[in-house]
């Protein structure tokens, strides 16, 4: 028996790998689904602040991620763009990450076509520029200096919806979908802290905890961030809220993924329990021998 506990404690990690793979593949292949309960919290705050934007306001949406975090951030981006475009909010897209620009384009074109929105009147994609914090600081004084043209090289001045948009202060809200550096902290530092433009957004689940301090609300003062979507759960929350409010919103991929997620979590937790059982059994034996 003691041998069993010892072997269990030092199990080859490749066995864990196989079980994790199965935990994800099987629920996906069988298309399991769980209900998503959404209560008050950062996801709801974010949804509400986007939902309360009046028609014709202008939102800057920065796609600060790349394909490696696509599974988490892309479903959010789709749901948010869907939301903005169906409520007549004008959308200016940009990216602090090079590959973000084309990811944005993919979503914008598809959703704008399906909802009959018009490029350069309802939305524009300015593309990617390097520089992170430095670039954001530059946008604070001049959008045009940093983005002389949009993604398809149309000069800034020839884009009708950008009339009157000269710098970050001219936006009603900034939404950043952020996979890391540069991302949320930089937008908060410049746009929210220095310029006072409301900032909200989504991030990978991993980085969400470090942004919790930005969410704290005190009476009579704006929080550093309006709200936050964390990872796939955040995306699923947003999808659920969107569908609750606008029944015609198409179903997203985040809700489906939550089932696989749950099973994989269970597998990891079972392993943690097994590891501790083995540890405790061995320790008891050692104490018994003494």
């Amino acid at each position: 028996m003691a041998d069993f506990w010892k072997r269990l404690g030092e199990i080859d990690r490749r066995i864990i790998f196989v079980l994790i793979a199965l935990a994800v593949l099987v629920p996906l292949a069988l298309k399991l689904a769980f209900p998503i309960p959404v209560g008050k919290g950062p996801s709801k705050d974010f949804f509400d602040s986007v939902d309360s934007l009046p028609p014709e306001s202008v939102v800057l949406m920065s796609f600060d991620y790349d394909p490696s975090t696509k599974p988490e951030l892309h479903p959010m981006a789709i749901a948010i763009v869907q939301h903005l475009m169906s409520t007549d909010v004008n959308l200016v897209a940009m990216a602090l990450w090079p590959q973000g620009a084309s990811l944005a384009q993919e979503i914008l074109v598809e959703i704008s076509d399906s909802l009959g929105r018009e490029q350069y009147h309802d939305w524009v994609n300015l593309g990617y520029k390097t520089g992170g914090l430095v670039l954001i600081a530059r946008l604070g004084s001049s959008m045009k200096a940093a983005f002389p043209t949009d993604l398809s090289e149309t000069p800034y001045g020839q884009i009708p919806m950008l009339d009157g948009i000269q710098r970050l202060c001219d936006f009603d809200m900034i939404i950043t979908l952020s996979a890391g550096d540069p991302g949320i902290p930089h937008w908060v530092m410049v746009a929210s802290d220095q310029l006072g433009v409301p900032v909200g957004g989504g991030c990978t689940a991993v980085s969400a905890p470090q942004f919790y301090p930005y969410l704290q609300r005190r009476v009579g003062e704006r929080p550093q961030m309006e709200g936050l979507l964390g990872g796939l759960r955040g995306a699923a929350d947003y999808e659920a809220l969107l569908r609750r409010k606008y029944a015609q919103a198409p179903p997203g991929t985040a809700i489906a993924g939550m089932a696989a997620q749950s099973v994989a979590h269970l597998v990891i937790m079972v392993f943690i329990v097994l590891g501790n059982l083995s540890y405790l059994a061995l320790r008891k034996r050692k104490e018994g021998q003494r």
């Binding site: 990978t204 980085s207 470090q210």
Partner: protein, 390 residues
């Protein structure tokens, strides 16, 4: 313009407001009130901010013109804004010139009674008013830190507590030497403008001095070209100072790719093939932290990690032997060099932290007491103001 407006009214017919039986639009109450123009604060000038409030019960107009004129000059239409907007920034003004502004509501192409005029001139400010508290604190803390650096340089007494991860550096390099396996140093994945990368290249110099001394091969794969240049300089210099310039191999410091996961894939390959006995993961890390640390662990290397990225610290703690947490990373170069002036700056950091602890404790007490006693809440407000930055 006026004639065109009239034309439009004839074309379109009676406007809804007239149809509702109220007085004509010209006699309607002003669309907006509390209209004001002020110099935009805390900038280099060149901006005047206009703001107004919609007066309740007024008619909804089609749009509004923002007009501007210089004393005695002609009126220019600056912009057409939507009827529900309540502010406008004029960014085309010259400093020190007085402009007057008016707001002209438009309904069916006709100008209604204008609001205003109001006047303002723009100017530049020398100190950002919302940042003066921070300026004061920055200067005080910088003075503390620079004072203790001087103090250290002059040979003042300085105690520095032990930092486990840093005391282990020698052991780790020593073990690699005994096993005849290389040391791998990973300075994070960010560029040289990141202060963690800067701190890491400084620590790299200290580690390189040890590997030069022990004659152990050192490998430094990097993800940014500027870091490549700096790392080469730093390591070369360390080998020169150790009297082993011959042992310096420029190509052991190599660029892989800027791509985060391309870099992780490359470093994983290096780890499983070269089997380093000691791995240093110091700098700014993102998701690749655990990919590198778990692979390093699987080849049995001693791992010393350190980062100020709060989100990656748990993984280093789970997978590495020693982890420098946040500020400890920045203390590392001073700790390893044992140079008095650098140790002095650690003492300065401590004083800065003490300052903040006192501020927090005082502020918490004041705002707690302030719930019942007003003067205390004023103290709390003062403290919040001092630390508040715009």
């Amino acid at each position: 313009m006026g004639r065109l407006g009239l034309f439009l009214v004839i074309l379109i017919g009676p406007v809804p407001a007239l149809a509702a039986g109220s007085a004509g639009p010209d006699q309607a109450r002003p669309v907006a009130d509390s209209f004001e123009a002020v110099d935009s604060p805390n900038d280099a000038g060149g901006v005047i901010e206009l703001s107004w409030a919609m007066s309740p019960g007024s008619k909804l107009v089609d749009s509004m013109l923002v007009t501007r004129s210089k004393a005695g000059g002609p009126e220019n239409v600056l912009s057409v804004v939507s009827p529900v907007s309540t502010s406008y920034r004029d960014t085309t003004v010259a400093n020190g010139v007085r402009y007057s502004y008016a707001l002209v509501p438009m309904l069916d192409g006709r100008r209604l009674a204008e609001v205003g005029p109001v006047a303002a001139s723009a100017s530049a400010q020398w100190i950002h008013s919302g940042r003066s508290g921070m300026l004061i604190i920055t200067v005080i803390l910088a003075a503390f830190i620079l004072y203790f650096i001087r103090h250290g340089r002059k040979g003042g007494e300085l105690y520095i507590r032990q930092i486990a991860g840093l005391s282990a550096v020698d052991d780790a390099v020593g073990r690699a030497t005994e096993m005849g396996r290389p040391v791998l140093y990973i300075p994070g994945i960010m560029d040289m403008d990141n202060i963690q990368t800067i701190a890491s290249t400084v620590i790299l110099g200290r580690v390189a001095a040890r590997t030069a001394e022990y004659g152990t091969p050192l490998m430094v794969p990097v993800s940014k070209s500027v870091v490549l240049s700096v790392a080469q300089e730093v390591v070369k210099e360390a080998y020169l100072e150790a009297g082993r310039p011959d042992a310096f191999q420029k190509d052991s410091i190599s660029y892989l790719t800027d791509d985060q996961f391309g870099y992780a894939a490359g470093v994983d390959g290096i780890i499983v093939r070269e089997k380093p006995a000691a791995i240093f993961l110091l700098g700014a890390f993102y998701a690749e932290s655990l990919i590198l640390a778990e692979t390093g662990r699987s080849v049995g290397a001693i791992q010393i990690a350190g980062t100020a990225m709060p989100s990656q610290l748990p993984f280093f703690i789970a997978a590495c032997d020693y982890t420098l947490i946040g500020e400890e990373l920045f203390a590392a170069s001073a700790y390893l060099s044992r140079e008095p002036k650098l140790l002095g700056s650690l003492k300065g950091q401590d004083v800065a932290k003490l300052f903040f602890m006192v501020v927090i404790v005082l502020g918490v007490i004041a705002s707690t007491v302030g719930q019942a006693w007003d003067p205390a809440s004023e103290i709390a407000a003062f403290i919040r103001n001092l630390t508040h930055v715009e």
